[in-house]
């Protein structure tokens, strides 16, 4: 199945990640609303990778589980990590000048959401969205 990796090192890369996620979501037959939710979540996570992780990469793949079809996207960086994940997921919390809705919003927009992070070892966020 399609599995592609893109670097996230500047603004243009965030746009390219959005476009890749969109095209894989179309392949996976997500509805327009599902596509839009997933692409929005991916945009938030890619921007976090860039802004807070100091850059990294995204891997996007079309996955299946029995008859189910979906998209998995993984965002990785080797930045400072997230010390307090509950705090980071709190709506409105930002350590920068964002709206603080990226992580919490992304979690609400997808079906499966996980974060692996510890101070000093970087951050990996994995999201999955299934076609209904």
């Amino acid at each position: 199945m399609t599995r592609r990796e893109l670097p996230i090192n500047d603004d243009g890369d965030v746009v390219r990640v959005r476009q890749l996620v969109r095209s894989v979501a179309v392949d996976a037959r997500l509805s327009l609303v599902e596509q839009t939710k997933l692409v929005t979540a991916a945009s938030e996570l890619a921007r976090n990778t860039l802004t807070y992780g100091g850059g990294g990469a995204a891997t996007v793949e079309h996955i299946t589980n029995g008859t189910k079809s979906g998209v998995r996207a993984i965002f990785r960086d080797k930045g400072p990590g997230i010390a307090d994940l509950d705090l980071a997921l709190t709506d409105g919390y930002t350590s920068g000048k964002g709206l603080g809705l990226g992580l919490g919003g992304a979690r609400r927009l997808v079906d499966e959401f996980s974060v692996e992070s510890s101070p000093g070892s970087g951050t990996t966020v994995t999201v999955t969205k299934w076609a209904r």
Binding site: D11, V15, V33, Q35, T36, S43, G102, G105, R108, L109
Partner: protein, 120 residues
């Protein structure tokens, strides 16, 4: 960097977002819009986002900032053309766009502003 054209229609400035805006283009838009509001005395700003298939919190903050700048310069902002899937996503994400007026399309946006006296 693509610059965003700003059209003047009567008392209203119309900004049609063409593509995904990157940071620099957003800064440039905010500056040129502020200049145009003050040089034309426009009392309304319409931002057409009908081509945007995604509005994330970065773009949402951009819209809110533009609206805030306009308000300080005594102009009212209306965002028009938001796609239904984008609206559903924004609500689920919790991005309320507080303080930003919206209208379904350009015509309704113009009417909303004229109702507020912007075209009077």
């Amino acid at each position: 960097m693509d610059s965003v054209p700003i059209l003047k229609i009567g008392d209203v400035l119309l900004v049609s977002i063409q593509t995904d805006l990157q940071d620099e283009a957003v800064m440039a838009l905010q500056e040129s819009l502020a200049e145009r509001i003050s040089s034309t005395g426009a009392s309304g700003v319409i931002i057409d986002i009908s081509v945007l298939d995604v509005v994330d919190s970065f773009a949402g903050r951009m819209l809110a900032t533009v609206a805030a700048i306009s308000r300080v310069l005594d102009a009212e902002t209306v965002v028009v053309g938001m796609r239904p899937a984008v609206a559903i996503t924004l609500v689920e994400m919790g991005l309320s766009l507080d303080g930003i007026k919206t209208a379904l399309d350009l015509e309704r946006g113009m009417r909303l502003l004229s109702g507020d006296g912007a075209l009077a």
